[in-house]
C-alpha cells in the first residue's frame, strides 16, 4: 500500500515550510541553532508593549522562549485592525523563506478558492484582551480600541492570513491545545483528498501572554530553569512562542517537494484534562494510526521528534508509549529546550524540526539534558547525530487528552 500510495496521485507532499521561534526567523536560523546546539531560552522578563503603560510587574519565576522584535512588527496598513501580538508573530513568520509570496503564487496557480487555509492556535490574541482588561474604565468597560473579532477570537489569525494572502478556500482554526498545529496537516490533507481543495496553507501561531504563564504556573508545571526534557531531575516546561507555515499539495502537481506527508494519527486519552495517561495509551494509538496510514512498520522509522515537554508525567508517559511501539530501537529526542513549548504552535514548529532533520540528514539531540532518566525506556539522543533516514515522526499531545502523530517520508 505504501508504494502505491507513494507514486499515486493521492500522495500529498510538503512543498515548502517556514518557522520562526526564539532561535530566530526562518528555516536557516532553525537549522543553524539545532546544528550548533544554540538554545534561546532565557529568564522570564516578559514586558510586551501592550502592558508597558500600566507599569505593573508580573514576575513569574521561569524561563521563556520569546521571539525578538514582535513588538516592532507592522501589519499591512489595510489590515491594521488585526494588530495584536499573535498576528504580528504570524505576519513575521509569513515574511520568512518567501512564504508569503509562495502562498500568493499558490492562489494564482490553483485559484484562490481552491486553496485551503488550516491554522492552529491555543490562545489566539489573548494578550490583546489582557491589555484591554488592564485598560478597563471604572464601569468595567473595555477600551473602544479593543477589536474582538480581529484579535481575541479563535479564528483571528486565520482571518488575518486569508485577508493578507487572498486565500479563499475552506478555512478553519484548529484549537486542541498543544496538538493544534500538528492536526492542521491531517485536516488539510483530508480536504485535498476529498477534492474540497487542491492545495493548502497550514500552520500555527501562539504568542506569550500572562494567562498561559500564570495558568501553567498555577498547575505547577513551569520550570524555574531552562527546561530539561527527559532528565531524571526534570522540573517542568519552559513556555515559548512562535509561528510556522507549510504548503501541502498533491505530489503530481507540486513543483518541488520537501517530504511526503506519509501519515497521521489522531486519538484521545479519555483520561484527564491536564495529565496524560500514565502508560501513554492515547499516544500509542496516535503513533500506531500514523504508521498504519503510512503503510509502514515500526522498523522503518528512523527518528522521532518527541513531544517531550519536560514535565514529570508527559515524558514518562510518552517514553512508555514510544517503547511499547518501537522498543528502544528508534532514536528519539525532544527539542523543546531550544525554543520552549510553543503550545498551539508546537506542532508546526516541531514538524519543521522533523523536516529539517530529514532533509539535512542529522538528528538533533536533547539540549540541556545531561543524561536520560533511566525510568524512561525509549532510545533518547542526548547529542546530535549525523543520521540519514527515510521516515520520521513528530509527536504532539495536548490538554484534554488530544494526541496527534505526523509521519514524514523522504521524497526524491
Amino acid at each position: 500500500m505504501a508504494d502505491t500510495e507513494r507514486s499515486s496521485s493521492k500522495a500529498i507532499v510538503v512543498s515548502d515550510f517556514t518557522v520562526t521561534t526564539a532561535v530566530g526567523r526562518g528555516r536557516a536560523a532553525l537549522r543553524d541553532a539545532l546544528a550548533n546546539r544554540r538554545g534561546a531560552l532565557k529568564p522570564c522578563e516578559f514586558a510586551p508593549r501592550e502592558l508597558q503603560p500600566f507599569g505593573r510587574q508580573h514576575r513569574i519565576e521561569t524561563f521563556i522562549g520569546e521571539v525578538d522584535g514582535v513588538d516592532d512588527v507592522q501589519l499591512p496598513a489595510a489590515l491594521a485592525d488585526y494588530d495584536c501580538r499573535n498576528n504580528r508573530l504570524a505576519w513575521l513568520a509569513l515574511q520568512q523563506d518567501g512564504m508569503f509570496d509562495a502562498a500568493r503564487q499558490l492562489c494564482a496557480r490553483y485559484g484562490a478558492q481552491c486553496v485551503a487555509l488550516v491554522l492552529g492556535t491555543s490562545t489566539s490574541g489573548l494578550m490583546q484582551v489582557e491589555w484591554a482588561y488592564h485598560a478597563r474604565n471604572r464601569d468595567g468597560l473595555l477600551p473602544s480600541a479593543f477589536r474582538y473579532r480581529e484579535t481575541l477570537n479563535c479564528f483571528s489569525a486565520a482571518a488575518f492570513v486569508a485577508a493578507a494572502t487572498g486565500i479563499a478556500g475552506p478555512a478553519s482554526m484548529i484549537s486542541t491545545a498543544c496538538s493544534s498545529s500538528a492536526k492542521v496537516f491531517a485536516a488539510a490533507a483530508r480536504l485535498i483528498r476529498a477534492n474540497l481543495a487542491d492545495a493548502a496553507l497550514v500552520g500555527g501561531v501562539d504568542s506569550l501572554c500572562l494567562t498561559t504563564l500564570s495558568g501553567f504556573g498555577s498547575l505547577e508545571l513551569l520550570s524555574r530553569e531552562a527546561c530539561r526534557p527527559y532528565a531524571v531531575d526534570r522540573s517542568g516546561i519552559s513556555i515559548g512562542e512562535g509561528a510556522g507555515f507549510a504548503i501541502l499539495e498533491r505530489a503530481p502537481q507540486a513543483r518541488r517537494a520537501v517530504a511526503q506527508l506519509a501519515g497521521w494519527g489522531e486519538s484521545s486519552d479519555a483520561f484527564h484534562m491536564s495529565t496524560p495517561h500514565p502508560d501513554g495509551l492515547g499516544a500509542q494509538l496516535a503513533i500506531r494510526a500514523a504508521l498504519e496510514r503510512a503503510g509502514i512498520g515500526p522498523r522503518e522509522v528512523g527518528y522521532i521528534n518527541l513531544h517531550g515537554t519536560a514535565t514529570r508525567t508527559n515524558d514518562a508517559a510518552e517514553a512508555h508509549a514510544v517503547h511499547a511501539v518501537f522498543g528502544d530501537a528508534v532514536p528519539t529526542s525532544s527539542t523543546k529546550a531550544w525554543f520552549g513549548h510553543l503550545l498551539g504552535a508546537a506542532g508546526i514548529a516541531e514538524a519543521a524540526v522533523t523536516l529539517t532533520a530529514l532533509t539535512e540528514e542529522f538528528a538533533p539531540g536533547t539540549l540541556n539534558t545531561p543524561a536520560k532518566d533511566p525510568a524512561c525506556p525509549n532510545h533518547l539522543l542526548i547529542e546530535n547525530e549525523a543520521l540519514r533516514f527515510d521516515v520520521a515522526l513528530s509527536n504532539s499531545f495536548g490538554f484534554g487528552g488530544s494526541n496527534c502523530t505526523l509521519a514524514f517520508r523522504r521524497f526524491d
Binding site: 484582551v129 479593543f146 486565520a158 475552506p170 478555512a171 484549537s175 484534554g400 488530544s402
Partner: protein, 267 residues
C-alpha cells in the same frame, strides 16, 4: 459530498431539546407556553460524573447533553465514535474572570479554570466521560464555525467512513466581554452522522461554492433572532428543512467568503 444524519441533539434554554425544537420548526408550536416551557438552567448532562458536573462549564454541559441525545437516537456507541466539535469561542465564560484577576495583579489563577479555558475543554470532558479514545478535533471559524465544522465532518467521513459525532456549540461570554461579543443564549446542536445512506433522518449533499450567497433564514421571529445572534443557531434553517421532510437547499456562509450549499433530502 454526502452525509447522512442518523440522530439529532439540541439544547437551548429558550427552546429545550430536539423534540421541542422540531415542533417549533414545524409551526405546531409558535411560542413558549405553560405546556412547552423549556427546562430552566443548565441541561442534565447525564453522562458527566456528578463530581465533574459540578465544576463543568456551560459549554461542557450543553455538549454532553446534545451528544447523548443524538447518539442515543442513532444507536451509536460513543466509545467507538470519533468526533468533530466546532465553536466560535469554546468556553468563553473563563476569559473574564481570568483576565480580571490578572489585571488586578494576581497571577495565581485557578488550575481548573485554566484547563477549562482551552478551546477543546468540552471535547476533553466528553471523551473522558464516555471513555472514547478515538480521534477528536475542535475547530473555530467565528460566525461561520458551524459551516466550517460541517465541512470538516464531511472530509472526515470521506476519509475514514462513519460513524461520526458532530457538535456545534456557542455559549455567551461573561462580564466585560459580553458587550464586545454578544452571543444570544447558549446553543448546542449535535448530529450523529454516517457517510452512506442508512435508515437516516435525512441525507445532506454538501457543495462548496466560491460565490457568496445569502444565508437561509428562519420564518419564526424568535428563531431568526437566535440564528443571527448565536453562531450555532445558524444551523436552525437546516434543522427546519430536516424536520419538514422536504427536499430543499440550505445555504450557509463559509468563513473567508464563498458558501456551503447543503441539499437536504429526506430518506
Amino acid at each position: 459530498m454526502k452525509l447522512c444524519v442518523v440522530g439529532i441533539g439540541v439544547w437551548s434554554p429558550s427552546i429545550g431539546s430536539w423534540p421541542a425544537l422540531r415542533a417549533r420548526l414545524l409551526g405546531s408550536v409558535t411560542a413558549i407556553s405553560a405546556a412547552n416551557v423549556p427546562p430552566a438552567g443548565l441541561p442534565p448532562a447525564n453522562w458527566l460524573p456528578p463530581a465533574e458536573r459540578r465544576r463543568a462549564t456551560t459549554g461542557t454541559r450543553v455538549v454532553l447533553s446534545v451528544a447523548e441525545e443524538a447518539l442515543t437516537q442513532a444507536g451509536f456507541d460513543p466509545v467507538v465514535t470519533p468526533s468533530v466539535f466546532t465553536s466560535s469561542a469554546g468556553s468563553p465564560e473563563t476569559t473574564d474572570p481570568i483576565c480580571a484577576q490578572i489585571a488586578g495583579g494576581d497571577t495565581q489563577i485557578s488550575p481548573i479554570r485554566f484547563h477549562n479555558s482551552v478551546h477543546n475543554a468540552a471535547a476533553g470532558y466528553y471523551s473522558i466521560a464516555v471513555g472514547c479514545r478515538e480521534s477528536s478535533t475542535s475547530i473555530a471559524a467565528h460566525d461561520a464555525s458551524a459551516a466550517a465544522g460541517l465541512l470538516e465532518a464531511a472530509a472526515q467521513l470521506d476519509d475514514c467512513g462513519g460513524p461520526l459525532l458532530f457538535v456545534s456549540f456557542d455559549v455567551p461570554y461573561t462580564g466585560s466581554l459580553v458587550a464586545a461579543r454578544p452571543i444570544a443564549e447558549s446553543w448546542a446542536i449535535a448530529l450523529a452522522l454516517l457517510p452512506s445512506p442508512a435508515a437516516a433522518l435525512a441525507t445532506l449533499e454538501l457543495t462548496v461554492s466560491a460565490l457568496t450567497a445569502e444565508e437561509a433564514h428562519c420564518a419564526d421571529p424568535h428563531l431568526e433572532f437566535l440564528r443571527t445572534g448565536n453562531p450555532t443557531a445558524r444551523l436552525l434553517p437546516l434543522l427546519g428543512v430536516i424536520a419538514g421532510g422536504a427536499s430543499q437547499r440550505v445555504t450557509l456562509a463559509l468563513p473567508t467568503g464563498g458558501s456551503l450549499a447543503i441539499d437536504v433530502k429526506p430518506c
